[in-house]
């Protein structure tokens, strides 16, 4: 149960192709009555140690009391199903304090059967 910085939702696709960029949004609500500093963090669990991080270009924000802020991040889809771990922190007394965690699974898109869309001759030259 979060004390101040409650993660209310992780927005992410249900599945993604290996090597593709996966954009996510972590929504964190300030449960405190006035503004506080909130930080987001994240890691990917898929069988490697340590867990790789998630890129959040803007990972801190002063959030007004009762307001939910969306933190945008991204990662590159690995070659297997991944569990997103999102973390929230609040700022108090010169330090960041861990407050909440939420997880979401992103599955790997199955590679479809081979298919061809088009072919064109782009050059022809005497050798």
């Amino acid at each position: 149960m979060a004390q101040y910085a409650e993660i209310v939702e992780i927005v992410a696709p249900a599945e993604a192709a290996v090597g593709s960029r996966v954009d996510i949004t972590v929504k964190i609500k300030n449960k405190y009555a006035s503004a506080i500093g909130i930080m987001v963090g994240g890691a990917l669990e898929y069988g490697v140690t340590p867990w790789p991080g998630i890129n959040f270009p803007d990972d801190t924000e002063n959030v007004a009391g009762g307001v939910t802020h969306s933190f945008n991040g991204w990662f590159t889809m690995p070659n297997k199903r991944v569990t997103i771990h999102a973390y929230s922190y609040y700022y108090a007394g010169g330090s960041w304090y861990f407050d909440d965690e939420m997880t979401k699974i992103v599955s790997l898109v199955a590679v479809p059967a081979s298919q061809f869309g088009s072919i064109e001759i782009v050059s022809y030259a005497r050798r």
Partner: protein, 139 residues
């Protein structure tokens, strides 16, 4: 000179294509770009020189080779080429080109490029017809 219609924001655009001149003994390298989605596989890239008509494409010379198509989790483009050996089986004139991927039942067929290959007549062996004296003078 051949030409091909390409789609554009103004509708179909007629793009003139330059001819390539070949003669027996040459090779014609045909480079193709294709789009692919899905698992990796080996396929046949096939190209032919001939004449396109109402009954289809009358092939005169052709060539093929196996290509390794990589796995593509999203639509992607790749390029490959195939060389057609020019032999005396083809006579002088202008010819069309097309390419395809697959065997008897093609996976995909290219648009035909019309009159882009000019096969030159063979230059015959040296021979002499006649000789005459054009002048005679003291030097």
């Amino acid at each position: 000179m051949g030409a091909v219609y390409l789609p554009s924001q103004y509708g179909l655009l007629l793009v003139p294509l330059s001819n390539v001149q070949v003669k027996a003994g040459d090779k014609l390298r045909i480079t193709c770009r294709y789009s692919h989605l899905g698992k990796a596989e080996t396929q046949t890239l096939y190209a032919a020189i001939g004449n396109s008509g109402w009954a289809g494409f009358d092939e005169v010379l052709h060539a093929s080779k196996n290509i390794s198509v990589p796995e593509d989790s999203a639509w992607d483009y790749h390029e490959e080429y195939v060389d057609i050996s020019i032999t005396t089986a083809i006579s002088a004139g202008f010819y069309d080109l097309y390419a395809k991927i697959g065997g008897a039942i093609p996976k995909v067929i290219s648009p035909t490029l019309h009159d882009v290959v000019e096969v030159l007549a063979e230059i015959p062996d040296s021979e002499f017809g006649e000789i005459t004296i054009n002048s005679y003078a003291k030097v």
